[in-house]
């Protein structure tokens, strides 16, 4: 009986856990209610090269919008999973990921990447040599391309964050 109640609670809670987050809400959560103004990071040739290496294709755009408060930045980046773009929000603080949230998932499958059990893996992750994450991320069967997309965007956000901090 207890097991049934637990399953029922989880089933009812699942939509809440997986609900997509609006950009405003993501930023409010990222900056504790005080959303900073939008800033732009222009892609230098070196950044383009690093981004292309991470994404396995050129980054789509010449500038990246971000929000910054001190050593804390937030990034909202699109990356295609299988066919459609997934919009992913990443908050980086002092060179490590503080939060990863899927803001919009448009694919027909692979949506498990929206759940905290997956995105929590990125918390406290940083970069090591070769712009790779300093930890392994467990994949999800049937959602490989979505997992790769979220992982790539996380790496990209860390790269962009380091560039912003370097520029002062």
């Amino acid at each position: 009986m207890r097991r049934m109640i637990l399953v029922l609670v989880l089933l009812l809670a699942a939509p809440c856990m997986a609900a997509e987050v609006t950009l405003d809400r993501f930023l409010v959560e990222a900056f504790s209610g005080k959303t900073p103004t939008t800033q732009m990071l222009w892609m230098t040739p070196e950044l383009k090269m690093r981004a292309a290496k991470v994404l396995d294709h050129p980054y789509a755009g010449m500038r990246v919008k971000y929000w910054r408060d001190g050593s804390r930045t937030a990034w909202v980046i699109d990356e295609i999973g299988k066919e459609r773009p997934i919009t992913i929000g990443v908050v980086v603080s002092a060179g490590h990921i503080d939060q990863v949230k899927v803001l919009a998932f448009r694919e027909s499958r692979g949506g498990e990447v929206r759940y905290p059990f997956f995105t929590q893996q990125f918390v406290a992750a940083g970069l090591k040599d070769g712009d790779r994450l300093d930890r392994d991320i467990d994949g999800i069967t049937g959602a490989t391309l979505s997992v790769w997309a979220v992982t790539k965007v996380s790496r990209l956000a860390l790269i962009f964050h380091s560039e912003v901090m370097r520029n002062g």
Partner: protein
């Protein structure tokens, strides 16, 4: 004698079903293997260019003439919204169900889709883009430029665009602004591009030929099952006879 009669019966029908089903089974095998490796082969990234298949899937249907540009030429290439994608010279830039308008300034080109703004360099490189998640309202129907100011129309509302960050804000557009686009309500329906993966999927399931095709594939599947069963029985009887 009775056993011999059944074996002969099974063998004859095994052969008949096999002959009929052979081609279909081959087709299923080929399409099945293709679907198993669709990502590796790139079937899911190959847009459909065949005119017959495009007509079959209802692509390239002309809508009512609403004054929106079907395509726009700049940087020596054609910019158009096709199969839900914005393409420049045939190369995909981003999602875009319809081309509402294109505004060229001295150093930038603003492309307006119903729910997205796309900023390009004069030679067609992507600078930036913003969609509904990033504050662009859906249902944009027209665009206009007056001096250094760019305006958008959403229903009866006029919006100003800040090209520095592609944000929009309500404004009062002056009456002599020349709008490019349509005053009609635009049905913004996201449209996934039809790729060869879809064609192979429909061929595999029989849906390419409508309900008849689906039933035929079901029938062939039943035939394959009968082949398997009769084959097993025949093999067992032959083994016993030895």
């Amino acid at each position: 004698m009775a056993n011999f009669h059944w074996r002969f019966f099974l063998h004859r029908w095994h052969r008949r079903i096999g002959l009929v089903a052979a081609l279909f089974v081959l087709l299923l095998v080929i399409t099945g293997i293709l679907l198993n490796h669709t990502n590796d082969i790139g079937l899911d990234r190959m847009p459909l260019e065949n005119s017959w298949l495009r007509a079959y899937y209802g692509l390239d249907k002309g809508g009512a003439d609403t004054g929106k540009p079907a395509s726009y030429r700049f940087a020596g290439r054609e910019l158009q919204a096709r199969d839900g994608q914005l393409r420049l010279g045939g190369i995909r830039l981003t999602d875009c169900p319809q081309l509402i308008g294109v505004m060229e300034t001295q150093d930038q080109v603003l492309v307006v889709c119903p729910d997205r703004l796309v900023l390009l360099t004069p030679d067609g490189q992507l600078i930036d883009q913003a969609d509904s998640l990033r504050g662009i309202p859906s249902g944009l129907s027209a665009v206009a430029v007056q001096g250094n100011n760019v305006f958008l129309r959403q229903g009866k509302t006029s919006l100003g665009v800040n090209l520095n960050d592609l944000s929009v804000h309500p404004v009062e557009a002056t009456p002599d602004v020349a709008w490019q686009g349509s005053q009609a309500t635009i049905d913004v329906t996201p449209m996934d591009a039809i790729t060869w993966e879809r064609v192979v999927l429909d061929l595999h399931s029989g849906r390419l030929f409508g309900h008849f095709g689906v039933w035929l594939v079901d029938l062939m599947a039943v035939g394959a099952a009968l082949l398997a069963m009769s084959g097993l029985v025949l093999a067992r009887r032959r083994h016993r006879a030895r």
